[in-house]
């Protein structure tokens, strides 16, 4: 299995200075944006994006072309780049921000041209201080060259980019929470309906919210054509995608591949296998919110649809491998306490439920569990996400609460023995 290098090409070719504008321009950087603005039309760009069939890389996998098409007419429209990558296991945006910020800026220029947007925000999570510095530097360089600001590339078009630093709230990765945060409010997700960002987004104006990886793919798509991009990967999961591989593997890291191969192949070849030649006990196919797969399910294909058919999701493309020695209850507890810590506190089931789940798991993990706790865990999960089905049904505004349920259902479905073995039998009740 080999990587297909589109997005990470520039940073690989220029390992030393890929984040600087000179290096980027030397490799034909900004030529696509320039050509687009001077020669193309917004409709053409949208057509290319639609033809590419690219789906959002943030986790939900919504077709990008459709999203752009929804954008309502208004004088003020905004583009917000969601660089609030905080899902445990994911670090793909970090490399794009840190190593190739100009590619993102070029993507923003093309996107804004296509959607007639005059102001864009890059919302970077606060912990990404260094990537944010690189982006800020890149934005300043682009301003100096006249690629941003007034009359970019000598055209009539104006575009401003503001780099905005978050402050440590995972929930701001949810697009409406991100908008609230950007407005200087608490990062609580908004109600949908009525506040779909494409209609009522930032400052209640139509807003496009896109992931870093999605927008970084735009220059390649425009340069090579949507059709070309559509040829890569498999149907429903076109193009390449950066997977973040972590956990007990020999070579963790970001890998840009065409979707379609199996997880097993991915881990064995690019990931260099499991450390110390151990077996995989379980793995997470798409970030902390995704239900786990067992070690014997490594032949599942890395496509949005195949993973979904096996009741999980590819999500943000974070693959976490857990070897046979892993304490899965502790692992699940770690994920649940992540969601408990990051719950915004709006909806009762998520606010109270995730913390409760954390408490119960903590009890079980530390040997104070009761036999009734297993049913209790499942019932609390059921109250957060009725039916415990996949995709999860929700009792909450956003999917954060139900996300905390997936590790527990995985644990209970596939590794119930392991949980039960931790519960001392002598305690009554």
């Amino acid at each position: 299995m080999k990587e297909t290098i589109l997005l990470t090409k520039h940073m690989r070719d220029n390992p030393e200075d890929s984040h600087l504008i000179d290096s980027y321009e030397k490799n034909n950087g900004y030529s696509t944006a320039k050509k687009t603005i001077l020669e193309s039309s917004p409709e053409k760009i949208l057509e290319e994006i639609k033809a590419s069939n690219i789906r959002g890389r943030g986790g939900a996998g919504f077709p990008t072309g459709v999203k752009w098409g929804f954008l309502a007419e208004d004088e003020d429209r905004y583009l917000v780049i969601n660089a609030d990558e905080s899902e445990p296991g994911t670090f793909k945006d970090r490399i794009l921000l840190e190593r190739d910020p100009h590619q993102l800026i070029e993507g923003i220029i093309i996107t804004c041209f296509s959607a007639n947007i005059k102001e864009a925000f890059i919302y970077i999570r606060g912990e990404y201080a260094k990537p944010a510095r690189r982006v800020q530097q890149a934005v300043e360089q682009a301003y100096q060259k006249g690629y941003l600001g007034k009359n970019i590339f000598g055209s009539e078009i104006n575009l401003d980019i503001v780099v905005h630093l978050g402050a440590g709230a995972y929930i701001c990765g949810e697009e409406t929470a991100l908008l609230n945060s950007l407005e200087g409010r608490r990062g609580e997700p908004r109600l949908k309906p009525p506040y779909f960002p494409a209609v009522k987004g930032l400052y209640m104006k139509p807003t496009l919210v896109n992931n870093v990886e999605t927008i970084s793919s735009v220059p390649w798509i425009i340069e090579n054509g949507g059709e070309e991009y559509n040829k890569l990967g498999v149907e429903g999961s076109t193009g390449t995608r950066i997977f973040s591989l972590s956990g007990h593997v020999n070579n963790p890291g970001n890998y840009e591949i065409e979707m379609g191969s199996s997880f097993g192949e991915f881990v064995e070849t690019l990931g260099g296998g499991i450390r110390n030649n151990k077996k995989v006990k379980a793995y997470i196919p798409g970030g902390a919110s995704a239900p786990w797969f067992r070690g014997d399910q490594l032949d599942i294909k890395m496509t949005i649809d195949d993973v979904a058919n096996n009741n999980s999701m590819l999500g943000s493309g974070a693959v976490v491998m857990m070897d046979e020695d892993t304490n899965l209850v502790s692992a699940a507890k770690s994920i649940v306490s992540f969601f408990a810590h990051e719950s915004c506190g709006q909806c009762t089931p998520c606010r109270e439920g995730t913390t409760w789940l954390e408490m119960i798991l903590d009890r079980i993990a530390s040997g104070r569990g009761r036999t009734s706790d297993i049913n209790l865990l499942l019932d609390v999960c059921d109250n957060i996400s009725p039916g415990l089905s996949w995709p999860p049904k929700m009792t909450t505004i956003c999917p954060l609460g139900p996300s905390a349920v997936s590790p527990i259902t995985s644990l209970m479905n596939d590794f119930r023995d392991e949980v039960e073995s931790l519960i001392p039998t002598k305690v009554l009740l």
Partner: protein, 204 residues
Amino acid sequence: MSDSFGLIKGLKVTFKELFRKSVTDKYPKEFREKPQRFHGRHVLNKYEDGMEKCIGCELCAGVCPAQCIYVRGEDNPEENPVSPGERYGFIYEINMLRCIYCALCVEACPTEAITMTSLFEMSVANRSEAIFDKEVLVVKDDGTPNTHEEQTKLINFDDLNTSDGWMRATSPNGNPNFQNVVNWSGSLGVGKKPPEEGQTLEEE
């Protein structure tokens, strides 16, 4: 003839009863043992540290079918609190003439502040004295009930420490840290409650 026969006939009952064992007690010289769940007059209990258990919640007054209880709560004085927590029973009055001794108040009480004793001697000189207020109802620091002076002669004080005949069972609170630990119930100086079924007393 019929007259004298009638006299004998009438005395027949008298003679018959003459040799039967008397059913009356030598009360007040002797006491009959009262059943464990006897509903006597109320007391308001204290905790071991002398704090009153009553929090003035008025649930007893609310549940009372005879409407004989009048309670008013008040903010606990910060310097010298009467009960633990924010609120205490500022006024507590029971009209004993109205009370039907149903013990619904005991059942309603969330803090086991009001309980019934085996005391039943409540003769009073006038009707207003029959309204027992906090002065009468709250137990003394040693956990024994206050009584009207007129009654003191009649009370067997030895009996009082177990006079709390009717006591509500409290379920274990479910906290795993307290499993097998018996709840403390300082009702009338009885100390720790006997363990519930399935519980064992923790060795100290």
